[in-house]
Amino acid sequence: MKTRLVSAPVAVFLASALYGSAGHAAKPLGTHQSFWNTQVGVRTAYVSDGGLDPFADSDQLVQLSLGVGRTVVADGPLSLAIVGFYDFGARQSDLRGEETKLGVHRLTAGPELRYHLLPRLYAFVRASPGALRAQTTLDDGATRTQLERGQWVPAADGALGIAYAIVSKDSARSHAPRFWLSGEAGYGWAGDAELMLRSTDPFGPERVAPLELGSLSLRGPMFKIAATATF
C-alpha cells in the first residue's frame, strides 16, 4: 500500500512527460506557462521537536503564506521560475500556567521547476533556502515581566506539488489574469533556535538571568494549499 502511494506522483510525472512530449510540441503554452505569479496560501507544518511544547499543546504550526514569482525559462512543457515566500504563523499556550507565545516568520526563495501536464495543470518541484525568525515570549509571574527572545536561523523548504487553473482563458496569448489552486507537500527545515528568554522590561527586577528552555527546531513535514494569480 505504501509503495503505491509513493509511486503515484512518479507515475503522474512519467505519464505526463509522455503526454507532454507528444502533445505540446506543436502547441506552445504561452502565458499559461510564462507569467508573474502572486500567491496566498496556508502552510501547515508538523513540528515534532520538544522545543515547541512550551508554546503549543499540539505539533501543528499553521502559517499564512504569501508568495511571488516569475517564470524565467520555458522549454516545451518544462519551465523554471524563481519564487519567494514569506510565511507567518503563531502559537499561543501556557507553560505550567505562565502564558507563552511563539511567532514564526519564514523568508525563503529559490527555483521552482514546473511541468505542464495540460495548459491548465502543472506539477512542480521546489527547493527554497532562506531564513526563519522565531520570536518567543513568556509572561513570567515572578518578575512580573515578559521574557522574550527573537532569533534568526537558517531555513529551507523542499516541496512537490500540483497546480490547476480554475479561472483561465484558453488562449496562450491572453494576458488576462488566471487563478490557480495548488497543493504541495514537502519538508521544511530550520536550524536550532536557542530558547534563552530575557527580560527587557525596565520595570522588572535588575539583572534578570535568562530563562533557559532548551532549543527550538522548527522543522518537519509540511503541506500547503494556496491560491495563485498569474498575469
Binding site: G50, D57, D59, Q60, D94
Partner: protein, 534 residues
Amino acid sequence: MKRRKTKRDAAVLGTASLLAFACGGRPESFDAPIGEVTTAVGLTGSVALVDENLDRVVMLTATDNLGLDSVAFDVGKNVVATAQSHDQTRLFVLSNGIQPRRNPDDELPSLMVLGGSTEPELVRTYELDDPLGGLAVDPEGEWVVVFDAGGVVVNPNELILIKIDEPGFVPLTKTIRSFGGRPQRLTFTSELVVPNGAPRRMLVVETDRDVHLVDLQTLERDPITVVLPKTASGQTAKPAEIAFHDGDPADPSDARIAIRLENDPNVVLLELGPPPEDETDRPFKLTVNENDVVGIPSAIDFVATDGGLRLAALVPNNRIAALIDPRTGVTDVVNLPGAYARIARVTDDVAAPPDEGDVALLWFGNAGDGIAFWSLGRTTGTPFRSVEGFDTDVRITNVKNVPGPESTARRKILQGSGVQQFFVLDLNERTTFPMETPGEVGFDVRVSPDGLRAWAYRPGSPKLGSVNLETLHPTSLVIEREVLDVFDIERIGGGRSVIAVHNAGSTAATVMDAEAPDTAFTKFHTGFLLGGLR
C-alpha cells in the same frame, strides 16, 4: 477470521498513528499547575525545591558570577515528607507511590536519598512495602526511621529502620508493642555503654501513652516497652520529653534515660544496669524509677554538678529546679529567681567554667523576659550565687546554636515570637547584643552552616538582613521580591552564596555573595520549575 482481525488492528493502528502524527500533543507535565512551593530545603551546596505536582525535586546550585544551575530529580509519586540530615549533606524524600496499587507496575512507596553538595546526586532509593508518613532522622547520620503508617489495614506501631550509612542495607521492619498508642516522636541516643556487650545506641519511641526502646546494636532483639505510670487523675501519663546520659565513661552500668511526663510532677528514670547473673546474653537490665519533682516540670536535662551527675528538671510554676541524683533518687530543690522553663548546657562555650559541674543556659519561653546562666558547680544552699540573670525585654522562645569556627561557636541566637528584635548571645563574655528589626514583626533567623553569619528574614517581606557573627556588623537588604526562605550555601568553585527563594510565578530566587551581600550586586533567576520538563 484471524486475518481479518489483523487487518482491522492494522487499520486502527494506522489511523491512530496518523492522528498522533496530525495532532502530536505535548507531555502532561507542561500543563501541570505549579502550585505553591511550600518545601524548600537548604543543604550544604544546594537548595532543594519540592515540585509536588510533578513528583520531582529541583536542586539549585550556585556558580560564579551570581549564577544558579538547576537539575531535576524524579522522586517517588505523592511525596509525603522530606527531611534533611543534621549535617545538611543529604535530603530524604518519602513518597507513597501509587495508592491503591492496581497493577504490578504501579510504583511502590519509597525513600529516596539525595546528596546536597555542589554536585547534587541521587544517592540511593529504598523501596518500601507500605505507605508511611513520618520520618525521623538520626542526628549522627547513621539511621533514618520511617513510621506513621497509612492505608486500609494499618499497623501504626510499625517502624522501618534504615541504616543510611551502610549501602545495601535492607530496610528492617519492627513493630513496637504499644497498648493502643502510636509513635509520636523518636529520639536517637548517643552511644551508651552497657554492662554486657558493645556500647550501643538506642532509639527511644514515644507514643501517646508509653515509651519503647529499640536496641540499634542488636536489631533482632525485641523492643523494650516501658509502661508509664498513671497520673494523679488516673489517666495514663503521656511522655513529653526524653533526655539521656552515658554517665561515667568508666562505669558500664550507669547509662540512663529520663522521661518527662506531660502535666505530671513525676519524672521517670530508666537505668541500663547489670542483668541478673544467669542472663549473661542480655546487654542490660532496665530499672524504672519515678521521681517527684514538686511541681510540673517544663524541661529536663542531665547535668554535671560538683556532687556528681544529676537530672535537672525545671519547674517554672514554683520557680525551682529539681536536681535528682539518679543513683539514690534524692532530689535537691534549687530556688531560681524566675520561672525559667527551658534549659541547655553551654559549659564548653563559656569562659571560666566550673572545675566540676556544668553551666546551663536558662530561658523563660513564653513565661517571661530574660535569660540566666546557671552554674552547677555548687548546687545546694547557695542557689542565687550560681544563677546570673540577664534582662532581654523580650520573651525568648527559641535558642539557636551557632556552628563553625572558634570565633563564633560560642555564640547563640536568641529569638522571641512576635517581636521586632533578636539577640546574639556571646557565651564567652555572657553578654547579649540586640539586633533590631524596626517595623517588621515575625522575623525568622537562619544561621549559615559555616557559623559566620545569621540571616534574618520574614516570609512575605522583601526585607532581609545579615549579621556578621564575628564582628556583629549588620547589613540591611531590601530585594526586589518577597522572600519565602533564605539559604546560605557553598558555591561551586569556592565562596558562599545566599539564595533568597521567592514563591512567585514559576519560583524564582535572588542570588548574592553571602560574604559581601549588596543589593547592587544581585542576580534574579526565574522559572526553576519550568525547566527539565519531559
